[in-house]
Amino acid sequence: MTESVRMTIDGQEHDVPAGELIIQAAQDKGTYIPRFCWHERMNPVGMCRMCLVEVESPRGPMLVTACTDTVADGMSVDTKGPTVKKAQEAILEFLLANHPLDCPVCDKGGECPLQDQAMSHGPGDSRFVEIKRNYEKPIPISDLVLLDRERCILCARCTRFSDEISGDPLIEFQERGNVTEINTFPDLPFSSYFSGNTVQICPVGALTAKPYRFRARPWDLSRVESSGMFDTSHPRISIHSSQNQILRIVGVDNDATNHGWLSDKDRFGFEYLGSEDRLTTPLVKRGGELVAVGWAEALDIVANRIDLIWEEDGGSAFGVIGGARGTNEDAYALSKFARVTLGTNNVDCRMDDALSSHFLAGSVDRALISDLDTADTILIWAADLKEEHPNLYLRARRAAQELGVKLIIVHPRATGLDDRATHKLHYRPGGGFALLDEIAEGVHPEIASALAAQKVVVIVGQTSFADDPKLAESVAALVRSKAGTVRIMPLARRANTFGALDMGLGPDLLPGRVSVGAIGCASLAESWGEFPTSPGKDTRSILEGLDDGEIRCLLLVGADPVNDLPIGAIARDALEAAEYVVSIDLFLNDSNADADVILPALGFAEKEGLVTNVEGRVQKVNAISPGPGQARADWSILADIADRVGRPLGLALAETIAKEIAEVAPAYEGVTWDLLEWDERDGVVVPIQGSQQINHIPVSLAGPRAPRAGLTLHVARTLYDDGVLMRHSPSLHRLAPGPLVHLNPEDARRLGAQGGRPMRVVTKHGEGDFAAVIDEDTPEGVVFVPFNQPGGVSLGTDPVVRVTAVSG
């Protein structure tokens, strides 16, 4: 489609796409033009002048900035001649007039574009003898980022990022002329969820990240590429470590998932891995105390108990919760362990806060992240992407802001994307079905017409716990009936939920997107032997089963249901009632602190394996650190228990597990480590060939109704919360908003609420005091409480709420 033009670069003729920038065209043809301000993923500004090249024009040769001029037919560009060289040297001499030569104490030293280009293109000398700009250094511009204004070369990369990409331009050029600087508004910090990207793209050491500052020199770091594991989009990352300690994570540019950008959670959320609180040895409860024991002893204890319960009550006495944080290999081992060793389908990686497993794993018209770029309309009826799926937020923002895609947002309150929405609808929590009926009946014609487009991507999930999980399926069903081509992106929380479901960590699923009891079972049985053929219990039912004694033994794998379940009390009661609890985890948490046996597991970046993201894209995660103490990979722990129980898994190496998956799991046919390491670095979307898919039957539009009057509760997650990994990542944990209740100014007036003052919030499932935030983003009648905050209480799922001012 794109026409090409013929141009000359340094005497060589090339065909390049029409309309491309000279700098891009030259780079694609192997000629690197030096630059500071230009960034492939942002609009050009021509700010730094480093990319000057000489172009033949009707008025003779002239210097132009290669980042702002587009190629033309017959154009002749010189990037290396004497005029260009003189210009480049002059620009560098000017930039270094004010830039301090403090490279020895600068974090950027060794990987600094200014340092590198001064070396490769600079004059090597300076005529500048005057005094350089002098500023207080460095000043914090947010809790995570420091600014050294002396080093800044005013390239506008950080300001463009925050304006064009993340949509929170809280830093901008201030003042003018020789005193121009980047800064925030006084007392209004650069508190962006994406602030770390500015540190990564800063071409000098002006912006540095607090967690990494002075921790290492770049040339001392070991590096490995991997996938980010804080949300289900799995951005491409590079993990850098020194002496087995992970020191930082940077984004890797990749068209498929993240364009090189990362949320601060993906970037700085690794601190928990090096936490002092990591479990390093198996723990066994003796006389009410947890006692450290050796692996052999711990595994014997667990295996004996499993044997005992199995003899007495069989597989139905077991339940398995978790597995969404590990690799596919871990998940597969857990799935096989549950079916083969424990003999149960009571297994679930979801935490009672998710859409149906068949909808998540089996929607055949699943969207790719890159479909957002090419859609006509995007409908987001899901969590606030900025809070729960920050990488998707960036992609959706780009689609709406830069690519002109129509964006429809349906949510109980304003979301991070509302400023870019073509249409937005706010509804009372629990009123989703009523609103859907209205749309179906044509009450909102502008939305109906936007949905009747040629290509529509629907991002669906639960906006809050009050939403019926079936609502998302109904939304998808409605759009499927209206639009031309529809792609569905069902959202789930916990990084490898999609991988875990694909490995069969659902009560009604088996590896490879096969339903329990379906024909696919038979081929799996050949490899696995005997296992139950009727669907098991989901997380909620497992916990209820523990409570009434039907289930005697619970295996928790990287799960903290007390904090993660919408109604924490259900998990708390169940764990108290449980006869025997075994936990495989990184930390002690509120759910396993009273377990009978706790086995220390390896975490992210400590083991190799595959993971599957929201698109069904399978990518590799790699190890760079050996992990603390005696911690082991989930799959190897499970394999050892299974051996002792006498119903072995036959799994000996992560890589061979992947091979077994590629053989027995239909959707994963042919997906091996070799394929991903050598052929498909961006991963592959499964199934590679159109192999078996679950036949998902969409539900009708009918559903429960919301209360029409009074206050309704909207409980939803924020990016930073009191989750167990966040708790052990101090840089981010302190940014959690805490126990807050957001009220519309009108409601606040009526209730006598004042900003910052405590309010008592009471629901069917809990009550507690929350500090009031008066907030126009929250519509009248809606009460927003961020979920799982340090110092907060669990309020459950029922939208009926009472809010009163706390006196005194």
Binding site: P169, L170, N183, F185, D187, L188
Partner: protein, 207 residues
């Protein structure tokens, strides 16, 4: 919710309605904010940000770029002496020194009373009538050191509600660039640039 007076809010709405994108109204609204508080406060800039839908950092970026947005307390009369080429050649620096000397206010500062601020400025577009001085951006051309001192004393004693270019030209000016220019009856009521309808009094042009 706005920190501005009813009158200012009406003006802000009217100004915003003139632009297809409301953020384009940031500059005139900054003058409103100055008029409201006497100078540009942080609160004023935050208010502008709310009105035009950009962040305070972006508003401050604009405000700090232009010298006529005063982010510090400015006197009731802002005396701006031009020291660019034409004025400098014809004694602009002498005029500045005369104003500083007579008022006791060094350039860039304001007297204790809050009456006079003195500044030296780059070209104010009156090269034909150099050396030139402005009071609250109302122009006086062909000024001498003597007349400049008179001007300072006049501002101190007469304390006019409105300063008007024609009146001051008559009292303290000399050679004008264009003495055939249309007479300007509007004047300035404070140290912010006059534009309709803010900061000007008297009849509209053509009336």
């Amino acid at each position: 919710m706005s920190i501005w007076s009813e009158e200012t809010q009406v003006r802000a709405k009217e100004i915003i309605s003139r632009y297809p994108e409301k953020r384009s109204a940031v500059m005139p609204l900054l003058y409103l904010a100055m008029a409201e508080d006497g100078y540009l406060t942080d609160e004023g800039m935050e208010e502008v940000a709310l009105w035009v839908g950009i962040t305070p950092a972006q508003v401050r970026s604009v405000a700090s770029f232009y010298t006529m947005y005063k982010r510090e307390k400015t006197g009731r009369y802002l005396v701006s002496c031009c020291t660019s080429i034409s004025c400098m050649l014809l004694g602009g620096d002498d005029i500045l020194h005369a104003v500083e000397d007579e008022s006791g206010v060094p350039h860039g500062e304001t007297d204790d009373e809050g009456l006079l601020s003195v500044e030296h400025v780059e070209c104010i577009g009156a090269c034909g009538g150099a050396p030139a001085v402005q009071v609250n951006y109302e122009l006086i051309e062909g000024v001498t050191s003597e007349k400049a001192r008179d001007l300072v004393n006049w501002l101190r004693s007469a304390r006019p509600e409105v300063v008007n270019t024609d009146e001051m030209q008559e009292l303290f000016g000399g050679v004008r660039s264009f003495d055939w220019a249309v007479s300007e009856v509007d004047g300035a009521i404070g140290p912010y640039p006059a534009f309709q309808p803010l900061g000007t009094v008297g009849t509209e042009v053509g009336e």
